[in-house]
């Protein structure tokens, strides 16, 4: 039913507005406000504002963490104090006051939840508004949802099904309690706590997130999904996701986000770590639609995310797919370290910016093993007065003989006040590898629009059609559940941008 609704919606989008004049379309687009802007009133358990070692001890104590994890946090925090905020990205924003942020906010729970009925009804309502009703998800889509509101996992479904296979899929804090040795073994091995400014911050104050372990030879029967949502005012969100694909396993993991409307900027600094052992395959898909700020560029989420995977074993594979439409600022470079021989890294991205949004996103493919392969397909779409940058690194080290990379980074400009930039870094250190990079920047041509108009397709649907076609290469990599949502998002963000 849920899926059906979405399809209906997109059909409406295409045909419902056919007769509208171009001016109206443009007007409508620029007027259309963030659809997912609402606020759920849930009683919160909060850490005091500001960041000190005490805050970290508070978080750690509240989560009943073992000593080593507290040490890990404190080490990261002490290192963070010595670091400076990076300035190299093609983005600009007012300075962030890290002392003016609440680093921990958890929905108050009276007792352990046993079934869906026990979940705070208001919370469930929130999900319903988002269109991700847990019951429906559970019943119809066969997706296990680990729903996160303000960093604390509220409900995990399908865990029984997964448990039978030996799959561990739970909140990060739960994993710390249940499988501390696994967490300890892998935490910070892909993104070290001193990796970068935001990673260090996250390592110090991360509140919760998801943990996923697929045992040897297990093919995860369902697509794992987490919906993140930033809720209470003035809370930054610092998730920590750790996915471990043991030898010969397969998992497809989905992450999708919407955030309610808020005037004050919200900081988001997450870390995702993926470890793929021998012959393992991990597919990670994201749809990100956080509040992008209003038409004047006020508010919106600051999204500084470090996502990195390591293909540790031979013939392993990590694939990142992302659709980025939200956030005032996106600073995100999902990367793959291709350590095992014959390993494969993939990056498929659609990034849409409108109004005053700024996105500086891309990937890093570090080829260490022999015969490793990577593919990068990035589609940037900028409209309004936004700036959209692709920044990527492809590195072929001396050992990475016979490795191969293909990168394609296209930009589409809608409107004459926006910017599209490409910063590809290529470093090759051996003579047998082949690296290819190509990029184009263009706009939707009048000829294309005229052709569609001539055949009775309105300008708006023509643009939707062309943009969806342009992004198709990436969208088709998304799991079914996301593909529909992503198409809807693209239409929402862009239709009518060219008049």
């Amino acid at each position: 039913m849920y899926r059906l609704n979405l399809i209906q919606l997109s059909v409406e989008n295409i045909f419902g507005t056919m007769e509208k004049e171009n001016n109206d379309i443009l007007h409508e687009l620029t007027q259309s406000e963030y659809k997912y802007g609402f606020y759920t009133d849930i009683e919160m358990d909060m850490a005091p504002k500001g960041l000190t070692e005490d805050t970290i001890r508070f978080i750690s104590a509240r989560k009943n963490e073992p000593e080593w994890l507290l040490e890990y946090r404190l080490k990261a925090f002490r290192h963070w104090l010595t670091m400076v905020e990076p300035e190299w990205a093609h983005i600009s924003y007012p300075p962030i006051d890290y002392q003016d942020i609440i680093y921990y906010a958890a929905p108050k729970r009276k007792k352990e939840l046993k079934s869906l009925d026990e979940v705070d009804p208001e919370l469930l309502e929130t999900f319903k508004k988002l269109g991700i009703s847990l019951e429906e998800q559970k019943r119809l889509s066969g997706v296990a949802v680990d729903a996160v509101i303000d960093s604390v996992s509220v409900k995990t479904t399908f865990s029984e099904t997964l448990e039978k296979q030996g799959i561990i899929f739970c909140s990060f804090s739960e994993a710390v309690q249940k499988v501390p040795e696994l967490v300890r073994q892998y935490l910070g091995t892909v993104v070290p706590s001193d990796d970068n400014y935001f990673a260090a911050l996250n390592s110090a104050v991360f509140s919760d997130g998801s943990f996923c372990y697929i045992p040897k030879g297990v093919r995860c029967p369902i697509e794992l999904s987490t919906y993140f949502r930033i809720n209470a005012a003035n809370t930054g969100q610092f998730e920590r996701t750790l996915i471990i694909g043991d030898e010969g396993s397969y998992v497809s993991y989905m992450e999708g986000c919407t955030a309610p409307m808020r005037d004050e900027n919200q900081l988001h600094a997450a870390i995702v770590e993926i470890i793929a052992l021998k012959d393992a395959e991990v597919k990670y898909s994201t749809v990100q639609n956080w509040y992008p700020g209003n038409k004047k560029g006020e508010g919106g989420v600051y999204n500084f995310v470090t996502k990195r995977g390591i293909c540790k074993g031979t013939h392993s594979k990590i694939s990142w797919t992302q659709v980025e439409t939200g956030s005032a600022i996106t600073w995100k470079y999902p990367s793959v370290i291709l350590m095992g021989d014959h390993s494969v890294g993939e990056f498929y991205s659609v990034a849409v910016t409108n109004n005053f949004q700024q996105a500086d996103t891309g990937t890093k493919m570090i080829h260490l093993g022999k015969n490793t392969r990577s593919t990068i397909i990035s589609k940037g779409i900028s409209a309004g007065q936004s700036n959209n940058s692709y920044r990527g690194l492809v590195k072929m080290t001396k050992r990475a003989a016979n490795s191969r990379n293909f990168s394609q980074c296209d930009s589409l400009l809608l409107g004459d006040r926006c910017g599209a930039h490409t910063f590809p870094y290529i470093k090759a250190e051996n003579k047998t590898s082949i690296v290819e990079h190509e990029a184009t920047t263009s706009k939707i041509s009048d000829e294309q629009l005229y052709y569609c108009n001539q055949r009775g397709i309105s300008t708006e649907s023509a643009i939707g059609l062309i943009v969806n076609g342009y992004a198709r290469e990436v969208l088709k990599k998304l799991p079914m559940e996301f593909a529909v949502e992503a198409q809807k998002l693209l239409s929402l963000s862009l239709e009518g941008s060219v008049g």
Binding site: G415, D416, R417, I426, K431, H437, E438, T440, S442
Partner: protein, 467 residues
């Protein structure tokens, strides 16, 4: 000694040098130039030499070069070499007007040329043509943009000034040959200014060579102004010894309808950095920026290209190709900026590299920054090897493996060489490339470009003309 220390040492030297010799350095300058020099010195003094923490310099490290003990020549030195012999640039059938430079100093006669064309030393121009100098000098090479440009502006002693008046076409190509020869390790600042009037045209070859094996650091800045519909065909030919560093910054400013073709060919050199900045400032202007680099041993080449599409209806085309062998390292950093309202821009950028050895390294960054929507911009970059199938094809026809490889490299380089429109120069560079690929051309033996040795017929076992 770490990078900071080196910086500190050499900076102290420059500061002391400037204050001690201020009178000599500023002598004969107009108030405008004097002010510019002082500003440049202040900027350089505050910022120092570029270091690898700067984005544009992350892959080119000057600190090894700056470790050396340099002399900064203040005065033109006298030479015991026969200038006529040294500068007899041996390009068969290539009738050029030679503009000799020794350690940067203009060595020509400054004779009168027909149609009001001026070729003289920059120092002479500063005193004789203050209007032109004030209008163009230091206007395109922004001292705040690059520390080395500031260094050059503060300390330059001389260079070439060329002025081509409106509606004058110069048939005979001009050839600037800058030799570095001092018997000591020297650090020189060369400054050239070329001003082209409306509808004028010129072919210019700029050669940089060393004729001894001393360590030299040559920091050259060339400013070129092309007025409406001017046409410049520009070549840079670099063949330096492995101990020397050459930082060559060229700033081109194009007005309406102007047409520029610039081609940088780097054959040898310890450290070469070509910084080419093109500002397309008038509608309908066009720039072709080409480059070829063939590097081996420990050589390092860095091509930085910045094309600024400031107005609408301009086109630019960039193609850089390189072959790197042994421990050589190459850098390409292309930057196309399309400013808001520069609609109908058409910009193309391409960098292709071949690595012959596992020790060679290439860093390439083709970078687009676009703020207008009605544009066609594309770029590409590849790093790869010679085509195995093509090599097999050649080998199957009885060509030895080495020769097949040579032939393929030659074909790879030919893309750039064939774009040279001056036929004698094209043939000459063609020969040089062949020699270079066979490892016969090296700058260690006194600069091959001017040596009088008879050019040997190249044979690839097969007749090249039939391919």
């Amino acid at each position: 000694m770490d990078e900071t220390n080196i910086q500190y040492n050499i900076m102290e030297k420059f500061r002391a040098f400037f204050s001690e010799n201020k009178a000599v350095l500023l002598a004969g300058d107009s108030p405008y130039v004097e002010q510019l020099k002082t500003q440049a010195f202040n900027h350089f003094s505050a910022h120092g030499f570029p270091h690898t923490r700067l984005e544009k310099w992350r892959n080119t490290d000057l600190s090894n070069m700056l470790k050396h003990d340099f002399n900064f020549p203040l005065k033109q030195t006298t030479f015991d070499v026969d200038l006529d012999e040294v500068f007899r640039c041996e390009v068969p059938d290539f009738n050029t007007r030679l503009i000799p430079q020794m350690n940067g100093w203009f060595m020509g006669t400054g004779e009168q040329l027909p149609n009001g064309v001026i070729i003289c030393s920059l120092n002479e121009a500063i005193s004789k043509y203050p209007d032109i100098i004030e209008k163009h000098f230091g206007r395109y090479a922004d001292i705040k943009d690059a520390n080395l440009t500031a260094l050059n502006t503060a300390f330059f002693r001389d260079g070439v000034f060329i002025y081509v008046p409106d509606n004058v076409s110069i048939e005979q190509p001009m050839q600037m040959v800058d030799l570095v020869n001092s018997g000591k390790n020297i650090f020189i600042q060369v400054r050239n200014l070329i001003v082209m009037g409306k509808n004028s045209s010129l072919s210019l070859v700029q050669c940089d060579d060393s004729i001894d094996n001393n360590i030299g650091f040559n920091n050259t800045v060339t400013e070129v102004y092309l007025d409406e519909n001017a046409n410049l065909d520009h070549y840079k030919l670099q063949n330096k010894n492995n101990a020397s560093a050459l930082t060559n910054s060229a700033y081109f400013h194009l007005e309406k309808g102007a047409n520029l073709s610039t081609n940088a060919i780097s054959l040898n050199g310890g450290l070469i950095r070509n910084e080419t900045q093109v500002r397309l400032n008038g509608q309908g202007s066009h720039a072709d920026i080409l480059g070829l680099y063939l590097m081996d041993h420990e050589q390092h080449v860095d091509n930085q290209v910045f094309v600024d599409h400031a107005v609408a209806h301009c086109t630019s085309n960039e193609l850089f190709k390189g072959i790197l062998d042994d421990h050589a390292s190459g850098v390409f950093n292309g930057h196309i900026l399309v400013r808001p309202d520069a609609q109908q821009t058409n910009a193309y950028q391409n960098n292709k590299n071949i690595l012959i050895s596992d020790k060679a390294v290439i860093d390439t960054k083709p970078f687009l920054e676009i703020y207008a929507d009605d544009v066609k911009c594309s770029h590409g970059a590849t790093v790869g090897q010679l085509d195995e199938d093509a090599r097999f094809y050649l080998q199957s026809r009885g060509i030895s493996r080495d020769n097949a490889q040579m032939l393929l490299m030659y074909a790879f380089a030919a893309d750039i060489v064939n774009k040279i429109s001056l036929t004698p120069l094209r043939n000459r560079i063609d020969d040089l490339v062949k020699k270079r690929l066979r490892g016969e051309l090296s700058s260690c033996e006194q600069c091959v470009l001017h040596c009088n040795s008879k050019e040997q017929k190249i044979s690839f076992e097969i007749d090249m003309s039939r391919i």
